[in-house]
Amino acid sequence: DARVTQTPRDKVTEMGQEVTMRCQPILGHNTVFWYRQTMMQGLELLAYFRNRAPLDDSGMPKDRFSAEMPDATLATLKIQPSEPRDSAVYFCASGLAPAREPTQYFGPGTRLTVL
C-alpha cells in the first residue's frame, strides 16, 4: 500500500530554533507539494516541485522557510528561525503530472508547535 510518509509526526520547539520536516513521496510520483494547515487560513500551498525542480514557492515566507528535494525520494521543509506563528500542521502531498485527474496523495502531517 503506497503512502506518503512524513517525519516527525509531532515537533515541539522553542522560538528561534531550526525545524526540519521530511517527506518521502510515493515511489514514481514526480510532483511534491508542501501545505500548511491552520484553523484560520485553512490549507495553504507553500511550495511545490516537479521532477525535483521547484516550480512555485510563492506561498513561503522566504526569509525563514526553505524547501528542497535532495533526491526523488526525499523532500524537506526547513524553518529557521522558527516563530510561534509557524505553529500549524504541515502536510506533504505527492502526485503524478501531467494527468487528466492529478490526484494529490497527502501524508499524515507534521504537527509543529513553536513555544
Binding site: G42, L43, L45, Y48, A99, Y105, F106
Partner: protein
C-alpha cells in the same frame, strides 16, 4: 491568488439526510475540480473529482454538480452517515496545482 469560496463553514445533518456543500471559483481557465475529505489527525484524501466537460458526476452516495456558467460546483452526500463526519475541502485548478477552499466541517448526528 485565485480564490475558491466554500460554504457553509460547518454543517450538522441528521443521519439519512442530504449534506450539501457549495464552492465558487474565479478562474475560468480552471479545468479540474476535486473534493477532498479529511478526518481528524489525518491528511486530506481525494473523495471525488470532476472536469467541466460534464455537469454531474456520481460515485456511490457522493455527487458533484457543476455549473460552468455560474462558476460554481457543489458536493451532495446522500443518505449521510455518522462515518461521513469529517472536514470537506473543495479545490479548483489545473494539472499543475489546485487551490483549496477553506473547508466545511460536517457532523452527521444519529
Amino acid at each position: 491568488q485565485q480564490q475558491v469560496k466554500q460554504s457553509p463553514q460547518s454543517l450538522i445533518v441528521q443521519k439519512g439526510g442530504i449534506s450539501i456543500i457549495n464552492c465558487a471559483y474565479e478562474n475560468t481557465a480552471f479545468d479540474y475540480f476535486p473534493w477532498y475529505q479529511q478526518f481528524p489527525g489525518k491528511g486530506p484524501a481525494l473523495l471525488i473529482a470532476i472536469r467541466p466537460d460534464v455537469s454531474e458526476k456520481k460515485e456511490g452516495r457522493f455527487t458533484i454538480s457543476f455549473n460552468k456558467s455560474a462558476k460554481q460546483f457543489s458536493l451532495h452526500i446522500m443518505d449521510s452517515q455518522p462515518g461521513d463526519s469529517a472536514t470537506y475541502f473543495c479545490a479548483s485548478g489545473g494539472y499543475q496545482k489546485v487551490t483549496f477552499g477553506t473547508g466545511t466541517k460536517l457532523q452527521v448526528i444519529p
